[in-house]
């Protein structure tokens, strides 16, 4: 129980999961427990020791998504998203921020594999493979909003503020991006910008490849978050940032073409969330079977047993939905969009309840920084907002289910 059923996995998936679990149990969890203060180091680069990423290198989890022809590995495509889910869950079981750091690389690698011209793949994939500290970032959100502003309706008023204009053989990008995962320390960015203000966002948004050292591109700050603190979230500014024309990945239709990324992203989001839930359960199950109160171990107190059962049931329910949704994405099922949003939003709300039980069952210890349970609680809380809020996700579900009524644009506000 609690973990994925081995019978539902292929031999490779089982071995990969086991390898990740050993790395997490041997390296990551002991580091996080022993260095809990580092989460609060206000020098972002100092938080996660470089050895952790080097360890990730030993099991090869930083560079999934890089095609075999460029030195990576090809996962079985028909179960790729399920595999991503399994692995990101295992890593998040050790640290949700580390998982987030790594999965950005997989997701952006998929985009590059699909849309970047071969010569740029040949340039960047080897660099990604060579440098253990090399991270990728995906830049959609802007100061004026993210999915809450532009995804409900596909109209010009909702388009991105970041603009890209073709000037000779260069695209010139101006604008700002914020709340970007890995934004603070990535080496290569995929940036979305408006290239046609007259049409809706789905027809007028293009994506570009922007190397960190491009003139006119600045990383302005690291956002200090309440959870997921080992991933450095950043803010970016583009001022007449000139990108060679061949760095255009998808013209105008970038939002639609990136569907593959968005769907896999929702599943991975839910899976990381599940990993935090599993960590909550494992830590709590251990605690209540050892901590004695009123002359008997906690688990023998019925009120404790009820909470623990509730945690386990919610985790299993989330897992069932994540597995169904990831299968739907892998099989390109017509309901995949709906299901992956359902998995993301359901995981975030259910695991928040799981984390609340964990906090409560640890009593005063649950609130202590050095005990590590409050960290799981904070990490769980972040998922309510990451990759769309609960309310926006619900709206997307209903828009998809009822496109003719809920999906119909009511017109701009007066």
């Amino acid at each position: 129980m609690i973990h994925a059923d081995d019978g539902s996995l292929s031999e490779e998936q089982r071995l990969m999961r086991d390898s990740c679990r050993s790395y997490i149990d041997d390296v990551v969890t002991p580091f996080i427990r022993a260095n809990w203060q580092r989460e609060w180091d206000m020098t972002p680069g100092e938080r996660l020791s470089p050895e952790i990423l080097q360890g990730a290198e030993q099991i090869g989890v930083r560079t999934l998504g890089v095609p075999e022809e460029f030195g990576g590995i090809d996962l079985d495509r028909e179960s790729e998203v399920r595999t991503f889910a399994l692995i990101s869950e295992e890593i998040a079981r050790g640290d949700s921020g580390l998982s987030d750091k790594l999965v950005q690389n997989w997701k952006v690698s998929i985009l590059l594999r699909e849309f970047a011209p071969k010569h740029l793949q040949a340039k960047w994939f080897p660099r990604l493979l060579e440098d253990p500290q090399f991270l990728l970032a995906h830049c959609l959100t802007e100061p004026r909003g993210a999915s809450d502003r532009w995804l409900p309706y596909n109209v010009p008023e909702a388009s991105m503020n970041t603009r890209a204009v073709l000037d000779g053989d260069h695209w010139v990008i101006n604008g700002r991006k914020q709340f970007i995962s890995n934004g603070y320390d990535a080496s290569l960015y995929v940036v979305y910008a408006n290239t046609n203000p007259k049409v809706g966002m789905l027809q007028g948004t293009s994506s570009f490849l922007v190397p960190r050292d491009t003139p006119g591109f600045t990383v302005t700050k690291c956002n200090e978050t309440m959870g997921c603190r080992f991933m450095n979230n950043g803010e970016l500014v583009f001022e007449d940032c000139r990108i060679p024309a061949d760095h255009l990945l998808v013209k105008d239709q970038a939002m639609g073409s990136a569907g593959q990324y968005f769907r896999a992203g929702k599943i991975i989001q839910a899976a990381k969330n599940l990993g935090v839930g599993v960590a909550c359960f494992e830590r709590t199950a251990d605690y209540v079977q050892n901590y004695v109160q009123g002359g008997r171990i906690l688990i023998k107190h019925q009120a404790v047993a009820i909470r623990l059962a509730d945690m386990a049931t919610r985790i299993e329910a989330v897992r069932a939905l994540v597995e169904r949704a990831s299968k739907a994405v892998d099989e390109n099922h017509p309901d995949a969009d709906i299901l992956c949003n359902m998995a993301k939003v359901y995981a975030s709300e259910e695991i928040m309840k799981v984390a609340t039980h964990a906090l409560e069952l640890h009593g005063g210890n649950g609130a202590m920084l050095e005990f590590g349970i409050e960290k799981l609680f904070r990490d769980a809380a972040i998922f309510l907002h990451m990759d769309a809020t609960v309310d926006v996700s619900n709206m997307k579900i209903i828009k998809n289910m009822f496109p003719k009524t809920a999906g119909k644009y009511a017109g701009p506000e007066e």
């Binding site: 031999e11 790395y23 099991i59 090869g60």
Partner: protein, 249 residues
């Protein structure tokens, strides 16, 4: 130079195993399985010898149920070149294991057989020794250091009194102790690559070896539950209780 590595699937070392209520054996239903940790060390040593250019091929062999192919696949992901799975659904005693491995060694003609000093399930610690005897090869058990020369082997062994270094000529059988090395993780890319490496499936009958048990398990029971400790009021009481109740003073 060719290395044969024998690996066994055992219960995961982190899992708490319980005895079946009827006392016929351990309860292994839905218990997580893994490669015997000492065999993992043996595989790592073989891979290091290959990486150092001293070995050319590593063949991993396992005797067990269909699921033991996971264990072989792990060995392949760590760096072994191909696998042999000898299918056996019942428990196989050390002598039968040694006979099967001898048959494989006859067929494969390795220069070196590496395996763990013992498996953590039955802790027999017999297979390596029996295999060397059956083959008529030299043996170095409980190895904590292996140095390969030209047709020779220098092995440091962990013995009761400390360390003993012995020289052997090849072919030989070496069993790995805990401190020989620290095994690597099977990396995800290598797990995918291992998928393409071949595993040949065999049966004990293919090698003419009978698995007929020679040992009979009479009863398997759990160790008695430890009594809870007590707190004593003073040093004098401690001494008195150690003397009168524990009988150790």
């Amino acid at each position: 130079m060719k290395i044969l590595v024998a690996v066994k699937m055992v219960t995961d070392p982190n899992v708490k195993v319980r005895a079946l209520t009827d006392g016929t054996g351990p309860d292994l239903a839905s218990v997580k399985m893994a490669m015997n940790p000492f065999d993992e060390i043996a595989v790592e040593e073989a891979v290091r010898l290959k990486e150092a250019g001293l070995a050319t091929e590593i063949v991993a062999v396992s005797i067990g149920p269909a699921k033991a192919s996971d264990t072989l696949r792990t060995a392949l992901a760590m760096g072994a070149d191909r696998g042999i799975l000898i299918r056996a659904d019942q428990a196989v005693e050390p002598l039968a294991v040694a006979k099967l491995l001898r048959a494989v060694a006859d067929e494969e003609a390795p220069d070196l057989v590496l395996t763990g000093k013992q498996a953590i399930d039955d802790d027999s610690n017999q297979t390596g020794q029996m295999l060397a005897a059956l083959l008529g090869w030299g043996q170095a058990t409980f190895a904590s250091r292996v140095k390969l020369g030209d047709g020779t082997l220098e092995v440091t062994r962990e013995v009761d009194g400390g360390l003993q270094t012995i020289g052997l000529s090849l072919p030989a059988v070496v069993t790995a102790d805990l401190r020989l090395n620290e095994p690597r993780y099977a990396s995800l890319p290598n797990i995918m690559k291992a998928k393409k490496k071949p595993i040949a499936e065999k049966s004990p009958a293919d090698y003419g070896v009978s698995l007929e048990p020679r040992l009979r398990v009479i009863r398997v029971e759990e160790p008695p539950t430890r009594q809870a400790g007590i707190k004593v009021g003073s040093a004098a009481e401690l001494v008195q209780r150690l003397h009168n109740e524990a009988g150790v003073l």
